[in-house]
Each structure stands twice: as structure tokens, then as C-alpha cells.
Amino acid sequence: MPERVAIVGVGYSDVRSTTPGLSYKEMMYEAAVRAYADAGVNPRKDVDSFICVSEDFWEGTSIFDEYVPDQLGGALRPVHTVTGDGIHALACAAMLIRTGRARIVVVEGHSKHSDIRTPHHIHNFAFDPIYHRPLGAHPYHLAGLEMNRFLHVSGNTREQCALVVRKNLTNALLNPRAVYGAEVSLEDVLGAPPAFTPLGELDIARPADGGFVMVVAAESVVDDLAGEPVWITGYGWCTGASAVDSRQWGEAVYARLAAEQAYRMAGITNPFQDLDFAEIDDSFSYKELEHLEALRLCRPGEAGTLLEEGVTLPSGEFPVNVSGGSLGVGHLLEATGLHRVYEVVLQLRGQAGPIQLAEVERGLAQSWRNLPTTTGCVIILERS
């Protein structure tokens, strides 16, 4: 029986709209120092392996994985990079520990979005170079296409998407890590300039800078460490087709299949009953509703109703994105999933301060690798 695995330390470099005072290396160092202090580990002696997530074009440096060891305390130690979301890396860390090859693994992800001068061109560069990119469209046209089809097939409404924006921006007002908290009305969201209809300007998560580091450990060493453990009991990930012609427009199949893997591993049969809360992808307003349904937290077509009835509010039966989500906190590129996990860890430890939920035992974090991908990750975290 492989060992149980826990997150025993978390740290972050402040989430901000711009970070001109620190280089990405210094941001990583700052997050790492906090995570190691939280876990009570010395990276030069105690950590067996380091895993980072990054994407060369966001960093502006090819073979970027060469640039990560020293600021994490990982020089001349086992280090590798996953070109995926932070939850991909957490799953790798858990598996590395369960093989017996490592006992303590560090996971890192960051966003230095404010350094990127042409982010939409990088996004566009992810489109199929022959069949799609020549159109020269802003990458978010794909979100407009997705949203329109999702609303059409699911029966959720444009107004319910606006409610997602209002909920998450309001939630963010109380979260010290959130950049974009605001009081907005439905009229503000619906009346914002159209961007890629039915998507409006306020339906789009804005980018932010920030970095996250987590220390993951085997059960056999958890008692020797200072950090309060939060157990990783399930994970899954999945990628669909890159081609726009064979993707399922209107349904987040990747999230459904990733969740199935994670639920099976964690022994979850009824996610809504078995889980207490979730931090899920809301990079665009409709995505929160689409992902709620894909994660089987409600039936297809019912996510908007759940929202209207207040079920997913912080005070509701199943809070979703109490942190403010990516709409309220800011989108953190490949570190986005790690941010969601960070929020879940704080909640389960009872350390979430002004946004603390009462009596939460088990939470879910989910990520989507943003446009134009069909890649999703799910992780289940538990207090005991």
C-alpha cells in the first residue's frame, strides 16, 4: 500500500497587478521562504525533488526549466518542469512520493504577467498555425464561441454568467490575496462594453502576478515537520483534442473526465454531498457554470439555478470560489491551479481569516489551462 501524501507547507509571493520591484526569481524565493518556514524544512537538506510549472513563451526564455533551481534551494538537486498547470505538478509530486523515490517534494508555479508586452499574441501562437491562426483573431473569440454554445445547449443564461462575476468580485473584497475585488451590479456586468459576444468586458478574468510554493510530504515524515498537513486524496487530469473540429462545444469534457479519476481515487460517489466546497476555474464567467456541471456538482443545465438560489455563495450549502476565483483574484497563468489549492489548504487548516468557512473537511480544486486548451486537472484535499 503506497503511503498517504500531504501538503505540509504553503507560501506565496503577493498577488499584484504588477510587480516592478521584484524579478520572477525573487518572487519565487519569497514564496519558497514562506513555504519552507510553514513546513519547517531546509530545502538544501530535507527536500528530495523539486517540480516547477512554466511555459517558455510566458517566461520569455526558451528552455526556462534551467532557470528555476537556485531560487528554490534546489541547485544540483533533482529538478524538473511540467509544462502544465500547478495541479499537474502536485499530482506528479504525490506520485513521486508514492513510488518511494522521494519523501519530500517541492512544487512551484508563478506568474510574472506584467512583464509580458504581447500576451494576446502568445495566446494566438497556441492556435493551430495552418487551420486557425491565419485568421488573426484576438484569442478570446474562442471564449465567445464556447460561451454562446454552452448557453445554447445547457439553458443557462447570460444573466447567470453576470451573477458569477458579481459573486466572485464581491467575494474577492474580503480576500487579502485578491487584486480585483469590487462591488458590481448585474447591470454593471451586463452593460459593460461587449467584447466577444455574449462575453462582455467584465466576464473576463484579468491577469495578475504572483507565485506559489508548496511542500508535499509522505505520511511517514509528516509528524516530524512543523506544517499542519492537508491530505491529497485524489487527483486526475485529462486533455482532449487540440482540433476545434473534434472538441465537444458546450461541455467541458476534460473537467468531467479529470474529476472522474479524482473522485474514484478519493472514494467520492456523490460530489455535492461528499465535498464541502470548491475552488474551480472561472477564467471566464461562463466557465464556472460549465465546470460546476462537468464536475457533477449539479446536473447539466442547473449550475445557474444553483447560483441564483445562493447555494454557491460563501454562506451557501456548497461555496464555490470563496476566494474570489480568477475573476476576483486575478489569473496567474500556470500558477492558477496552485493558487486555488492554496485557498483550499487555508480553508481546511482554518487559516483563511476573513473568508474562513465553517466546518469544512474536504475540498476540491480544479484548473483549466485556458484558451485554446481542452486540458483540466482536479485535486481533492482533506483535513484528516
Binding site: P20, E30, S114, A195
Partner: protein, 156 residues
């Protein structure tokens, strides 16, 4: 540990660009598609003999069962708007005036389709399920690109 700085130009930064250029190989199936567009003013699809699924653009292999597909065949460039959006921003985020309509067009008689512009129609008249057909550039101006299609327009 850090000063309060909000303007990136206040501290020293180094501006950099990455000049990257490629030629993308279309491949066996991709060339069949681009040649159909350029030479015959139509599209092309390939069929998985086991799953009986028609891929458009054509592919050499079936993503469902991994079998090799049949030779690409010509397909008329018409279909149905499966979803659409009206884009108000260009690639650099600047306002697009007039806005551009993009649609995913499911090509009739296939399981495939493509994203392209819609033209000869007002945004308010577009709906999911609208039947559309491609408007090709004159043969002499085609180069073997999806841009040999100017846009899709409502049928009739």
C-alpha cells in the same frame, strides 16, 4: 523586502523580443485540404473506415480508434453555424469597427468543421443553426490557405 512601485518604467528593465519564424508542414492530409481549397474551391474530409467518422480537416489517422483513415475526398464548403461570436477587439486589443463575426461552421455530411469569419450578414441576423456556404477568392488569387476563403455567408 520591497518598495512600493507601480510603474514598471521606474526601475531598470530590459526590453526583449523573440523573433521566431517557422514553416509549418501541412502533411499528407493537410496538403489534400489546402489543395482542395486552392485548386477546386471546396474542402476535403477523410473517413475512418472503422468508426465511420468523417474528419474535416482530413487527418491521416482516427483519434478515436487510432486506425488509418481513407484517402481524403472533396466536400462542398457549406454547413451550419454551430456557434458564433461578434468580436469587438482585434489581436492587439484595439476596438474593431465594424466588429467581426466568427463562427464554428459544422460542415454538412462530416463530423468536422472550421472556425472562420461570417460575411454578407448583419450580426443581429446570425443564429445558431444558420446554413452558410464559403465565399472563395478568385482562383488566380488563391495560395492554398484558409484565407483563400474570404468568409462564409448565409445560403441563398
Amino acid at each position: 523586502m520591497r518598495e512600493k512601485l507601480t510603474n514598471p518604467e521606474d526601475v531598470r528593465t530590459w526590453p526583449g523580443t523573440i523573433p521566431v519564424e517557422y514553416v509549418y508542414t501541412a502533411g499528407v492530409a493537410g496538403e489534400a485540404y489546402l489543395r482542395a481549397i486552392k485548386e477546386r474551391g471546396c474542402l476535403a474530409a477523410s473517413t475512418c473506415p472503422d468508426c465511420n467518422i468523417d474528419y474535416l480537416p482530413p487527418r491521416l489517422y482516427c483519434e478515436r480508434c487510432f486506425a488509418k483513415t481513407d484517402e481524403p475526398r472533396d466536400v462542398a464548403a457549406r454547413g451550419v453555424v454551430e456557434t458564433f461570436t461578434v468580436a469587438h477587439r482585434d489581436l492587439d486589443g484595439r476596438p474593431l469597427e465594424p466588429p467581426v463575426i466568427y463562427a464554428f461552421v459544422r460542415i454538412a455530411g462530416t463530423a468536422g468543421g472550421l472556425i472562420h469569419r461570417l460575411g454578407d450578414v448583419e450580426p443581429g441576423d446570425v443564429h445558431i443553426g444558420l446554413e452558410v456556404e464559403a465565399v472563395f477568392r478568385p482562383p488566380a488569387e488563391r495560395v492554398g490557405s484558409i484565407l483563400d476563403i474570404e468568409h462564409f455567408k448565409p445560403v441563398g
